[in-house]
C-alpha cells in the first residue's frame, strides 16, 4: 500500500495530465493559461517537481508584468509539465 504522500503525488500527477491538455489548447493570452501557470508555480515543487515550479514561475512572472511569455518560457513549461504528467504514480 502506498504512503499518504505518494497518494497525493499521484493525484497531482493526474492533474498535470489534465493541465497539459488544457494548456495545449489555450493561448498564453487566456486567463486559464495564467491561472494554471500560477498554480503550478506554487504547487509543483511541493510534490517533488521543482523544475516544473521554476518553469511555471517564469511564465507567471512575465504574465504578471503584462508581458507575453517568451517562446522559450512556454516551451520549458510544456516540457516540464509533460515530464511531470508522465511520472509514475
Amino acid at each position: 500500500m502506498s504512503d499518504p504522500l505518494s497518494a497525493l503525488r499521484a493525484a497531482f500527477v493526474e492533474r498535470c495530465r489534465e493541465d497539459l491538455g488544457r494548456l495545449g489548447e489555450a493561448s498564453p493570452d487566456d486567463a486559464s493559461f495564467a491561472s494554471i501557470a500560477h498554480r503550478l508555480a506554487g504547487a509543483a515543487g511541493s510534490f517533488g517537481f521543482p523544475e516544473l515550479s521554476e518553469a511555471a514561475a517564469a511564465v507567471d512572472h512575465s504574465l504578471r508584468k503584462g508581458e507575453p511569455p517568451t517562446a522559450a518560457q512556454t516551451e520549458a513549461l510544456m516540457r516540464r509539465l509533460g515530464q511531470a504528467a508522465g511520472a509514475a504514480d
Partner: protein, 125 residues
Amino acid sequence: MSKLCILHVDDDENIRALTALAFDLGNEAEVRSAASGAEALRLLADGFRPDLLLLDVMMPDMDGPTLLRRIRERSMSTPAVFMTAQTQDHEVARLLGLGAIGVVIKPFDPLALGGQILGLLRGAA
C-alpha cells in the same frame, strides 16, 4: 495541551490536501480547510475559532489580504500567515505590513511546514 487548530484557505485542492497531511503526519495541528474566502468567512460566522489562519494570497474570488481584512473587521485578532509564490522582498514586506506574523513561500517542503509554522507562532508570542 490541546492540539493547535488551523484554518487553511486555498483554492488549490492539491495544496489543501498536502497541507492537511503535512500537519497530520507531524501530529502538530488539526487543519480545517476552506476552498475560498467566502467559505472561510462562513466557517468563522458559524463559530469556528482557529488558533491560526493560513491564507493563500492569490485566489480567484477573494484574495488572502482581502480575506484577512474582512476577518479583522469582525474583531478577530487570530494570528495569520500568508502563503505565496511571489518571492520578491517587496511582496513579502507588503504582506507582513498587512499584519501577518509570517509568510510561507510556495512551493513549500511539506515535511518542514509544521515546524516552520510553529516557529512563526512562537516568534509572535
